[in-house]
Symmetry: C2
């Protein structure tokens, strides 16, 4: 490795002029694409700079290293997912009691519609955590979503014992994650079938837990 700074410590210039702000935004977009296309290790900073229409020097003016670049878009991506997820959580209590079946469909549709690029990047994101610190660091995002989902399940599926809610939420989140990522890898036609069948699977799994 060529890591110099520890724990992605920044120590870099913060863009203040408009010109550099736009440039940094282009870098993040380029990085998202490149990481999504070839994965973290195979992505080169050179390729990212080129796609952003700038030079390597400029990249390192704002990001101390490749990992920091990855972390930055990871954070941005996380925020977007949280917003999406939050929308459902906020309307959760109201709908969950009566209308949870339709809600499941909506959540799945929403995540599926949520930009292919983002999903592709998410695959890289998950795989990163899976290879490097394999057994130590879990999949932070999925874990967080499961924790947020658990309370909602208490309403939608009251038959689940409180102690078991997190387990069920984890099952749902991980299954969705895996199947949507799979759909992403298939052609349009198969993808649609998979997404629809995923709705069926989740509904059938939760059905006996509903009141």
């Amino acid at each position: 490795m060529g890591t110099k700074d520890e724990a992605s410590g920044e120590k870099r210039r913060v863009p203040t002029q408009e010109r550099s702000r736009a440039r940094v935004a282009r870098m993040l977009d380029a990085a998202t694409e490149v990481f999504a296309e070839v994965g973290f290790d195979a992505a080169t900073t050179e390729a990212i700079a080129e796609r952003a229409g700038t030079s390597i020097g400029s990249v390192y003016q704002f990001f101390p290293n490749k990992k920091a670049l990855f972390d930055a878009i990871g954070e941005r991506y996380l925020d977007e997912v949280r917003v999406l997820f939050e929308r459902f959580l906020s309307e959760g209590p109201a709908r969950a009691k009566t209308d949870w079946r339709a809600m499941v469909d909506d959540v799945i549709d929403a995540f599926w519609a949520f930009d292919r690029d983002s999903l592709a990047f998410r695959a890289v994101w998950l795989n990163m955590h899976r290879s490097a610190e394999f057994l130590v660091q879990g999949d932070a995002l999925n874990r967080e979503m499961a924790e947020r989902l658990a309370p909602v399940l208490g309403i939608a599926a009251p038959k689940i014992k409180p102690a078991k809610r997190l387990l069920v939420a984890t099952m749902v989140v991980e299954t969705l994650s895996a199947l949507l990522l799979l759909a992403l890898r298939r052609d349009e036609r198969m993808a649609k079938k998979l997404v629809d069948e995923t709705k069926v699977l989740v509904r059938r799994y939760l059905e006996p837990y509903a009141d």
Copy 2:
């Protein structure tokens, strides 16, 4: 990349003496461990040689490059999985009609018991295909298993339309794959819960398809 040979063409010595055969076996074991621990990219041939108690030169005497090493254990791993899977397929028609629920449990237990190392390596295997030739090359192993499973579903779950069998089989295989790999990353206690709940999920999903 430093790839010289195309399409993992061998062009290397085949071990004939007992000494070298044993050495090659140690190399494969070491490679499995290292790949499983840190992933393909981060694994160094040096580390593999060292763990096998030999030198890099010897590794390259029998394997043309790093990828060939990976392919070799991939093949070995595939064979083991096929044997495991075949056992269930052979008894399939007999049990499938009456006893498919217990069969689901058995399959899950069997795959879970199937050596942690192997499962860890499988994660690397799947992730490899996912990053490099992202949208092109699918997950060969899971696809193959789904194709083999589809006919069995015709017996166990006769209500599935023939055209839909492969879809359902794919759903089952991918879900199992994802959830067992997840269980692997969790501690013993949580893993057991996840495995048990996976049985529940698969059973509930297939139930309406059974006669």
